[in-house]
Symmetry: C2
Subunit: 457 residues, 2 copies
């Protein structure tokens, strides 16, 4: 309970205009893009690291739960304040502090939206590779908390691979810094990596030094269509296995293609079982050579159509089709549930077959989109949540899907995170001792368990 | 003190032949490639994870210090058992467990030598990028403990960037696993990254899943010589700043070049102030294009000679010169002391000037070799350790050099580690609260402080 005394102490720090506690205001911060919700007692918008530190000193003194929040685009419930207390919303800490392309880094506050990092870099010939689906709205702080991925992470790696250093406010309010501006740095533990992906349970990132890379000279975008899903998956393995590393390799199955066709009408044949959107980038001559190799391998694996984007607008059209997949499925039923299992790439064909087999056994529809080159698959089941029977079937189906993924050498979550939705499945992927070890770290770092309590640790 | 009871319990696990405790035997495990030494009371060679676990159970019961060891090539004293106790030497846990190039990983025991990982992969068209100078003898377990770098880490990243998952034995003897075979995996904390670079102070890695990458189609190797050191460094910034990412970019200054010339006679002009060994790799057409760009930029920055390796043997000759630098300096004085500061690449010219200014002020010689593309510099001071005055001067000079590196936005160590040598300088690079946070982690994970005690944490 936030008493009047506590409220006064908190508003003394941030002022009344950056402290919300009216029910209608709070409701906006009670949910994310996951399916549950919980009300905070107050929402605070810090502007500086010092303010975050002072808020945490008070939270620590009174043992008030604190849940960090960026844009609220999480799909696993990570920023939902299940134990109520304070939501610390970082959207006003949105300054780019330094752009240094000669030394290949950018320093940002956590509330900077991913796309604004790109906008600062592109005119200088650089970019920041992690590109989650939410990149036009999600913040770097949220991307770090969730170790966000995205399509081009196939070639470039995920958020963690781009964190050089960070400033963090601990549960106690203490301010610590790890890492530096240097790619090579073995000074002490690699603690920036520990906070990355910790879903706000260990500390609050108040500044991040991100590695940036030069924009490739050019890119090529190819849409390949198969009448057989197995062939689609085989083409993925064949291309990846040959040593080509595309910048992205997105797979859509028949259900996704039909949903996309209904929604945006790109010209997908209705009976095709699989499509691959492949993008490669780099030096012009290399891209041309690899495009030929990819087309050759696609045809060898039975592609019925191969289209190379001839212009930037055609490229946009291809990507728009892929990006619209989730929204397109949402037109089929009000509550599409998207999952996020990952398997080694050679297991993609089997995993897709098993997903289809399991869901059809429960009488459920499924569409599969995947960042196929790294085995990260998003099966989407369109349901109506008010239908309890359907909801239970979905839960059972996904539980089976998770088990299969792990049996194939895969993992519970490739990029969405554990959050609220998946903590009960952790024992499928991790031993009791390994889970307990996470608790040892959590308890040492946040002894009163005030940072995003009630989640996976 | 290892009593007879403890000895019996330990030999019950590994047998007498894998338990050493004679002084002459122990002496071999009292030092690494750093300058200090300390005797263990016993050396144990485990063969399985279970054996490591059982040894740790006993160590934990009797609170015996345990220091992990691979090939002993560390240059910072990391495996020196300063608190005595047991050295756990992993050289007999040297099996490659699985090679899976379609899914781009290799699973190894910690005692596998880095070069043997390469040998298993190269016939399959793949390789494991981290290439520390010690790669022909250092083990993967040691590489992970130290988060090893190397020349081609400029393009490919360091050890941590290639750890997908690992099995670890904790101080208690418990066996835990983090990560998986999947590049994208956000299931729980990124704890594999925490152990990487922790210098054996948090746990003992007993198995590692390493990411592997396709071998590039071709490579080009160029040796560029400058009569001016400043121009050498400017060429580095110019090439890196333009967006080219060489596979390696090694800088040698006049003193290094002369030492190399005396040792291996490669034909370096005696008065040249700097040389750059630049290697690029990738698709043939891309390499040709970038070679031209690099040569152009080198000439624009005043290169007096540009040689492209025309054959594999010429490439080897260039690399042999670079690799011999340390040994060559060792011919000047018995105890060359090599350091490992790193600065943002745009600060390389200033850092080199300051290194020369500081060392000459103390009347010391210095030669500088650097992985210049990522700002990782190895100034080497040739001294005679028996000369106390010289030793003190070196210490003072390096303390000044560290301060300058940090003032320039750099870090204490790029790839060698903190170990024994640099823990006293940590407060230059990290705040009191940040150092204390490392201790919080250490104490939670290893409450009796038995894992590699007496080091930086």
């Amino acid at each position: 309970m936030l008493t009047q005394t506590i409220k006064t102490e908190l508003t003394d720090i941030v002022g009344k205009e950056r402290y919300l506690d009216k029910t209608a205001e709070l409701a906006c911060f009670s949910y994310d893009s996951f399916t549950e919700e919980a009300m905070p007692e107050a929402v605070i918008f810090p502007m500086t690291t010092r303010e975050v530190s002072r808020v945490m000193e008070i939270a620590s003194k009174y043992k008030i739960p604190v849940t960090g929040r960026g844009a609220g685009t999480s799909v696993c419930g990570a920023p939902i304040p299940v134990k109520h207390g304070i939501v610390l919303c970082f959207t006003k800490m949105n300054k780019i502090i330094e752009v240094n392309t000669p030394d290949r880094y950018i320093i940002v506050q956590p509330g900077v939206v991913n796309i604004n990092v790109q906008k600062a870099l592109i005119p200088l010939g650089f970019f920041y590779p992690p590109d989650p689906g939410s990149m036009t709205s999600s913040t770097i702080g949220g991307n770090i908390a969730q170790n966000a991925g995205g399509p081009r992470c196939l070639k470039y790696g995920v958020t963690m691979d781009y964190i050089l250093g960070m400033e963090v406010v601990l549960a106690s309010g203490k301010i610590v810094r790890f890492g530096s501006r240097n790619v090579k740095d073995v000074t002490g533990y690699k603690l920036a990596s520990l906070f990355c992906g910790s879903e706000g349970t260990l500390g609050l990132v108040t500044e991040a030094i991100l590695r940036v890379v030069p924009q490739p000279e050019t890119q090529k975008t190819i849409m390949v269509i198969f009448d057989d899903l197995d062939n689609t998956a085989k083409a993925v393995s064949d291309i990846i296995g040959s040593g080509i590393i595309p910048a992205a390799m997105e797979l859509m199955d028949n259900a996704s293609m039909n949903a996309i066709e209904d929604a945006v009408g790109i010209g997908f044949p209705r009976d095709a079982e699989g499509a691959l959107l492949i993008e490669i980038d780099g030096i012009k001559e290399a891209c041309e050579k690899q495009t030929k190799q990819i087309i050759e391998k696609a045809k060898k694996n039975g592609a019925v159509s191969v289209q190379e984007a001839k212009s930037e607008s055609e490229r946009e059209k291809f990507w728009n089709a892929r990006r619209s997949a989730y929204g397109a499925v949402a037109r089929i039923a009000p509550d599409p549930i998207s999952e996020d299992v990952t398997v080694p790439v050679s297991k993609v064909p089997e995993m897709i077959r098993r997903i289809i087999e399991i869901t059809s056994r429960y009488g459920l529809k499924v569409s599969v989109v995947a960042h196929a080159g790294d085995g990260n698959m998003h099966p989407v089941i369109p349901i109506d949540r008010s239908n309890t029977d359907q909801r239970l079937k979905v839960e059972k189906a996904f539980a089976e899907i998770f088990k299969v993924a792990i049996a194939l050498g895969g993992t519970l979550s490739g990029e969405h995170g554990i959050g609220l939705g998946k903590s009960k499945y952790l024992p499928l992927a991790m031993s009791k001792d390994s889970i307990e070890f996470m608790s040892v770290i959590k308890k040492a770092v946040d002894p009163d368990e005030i940072l995003n309590p009630g989640k996976f640790v």
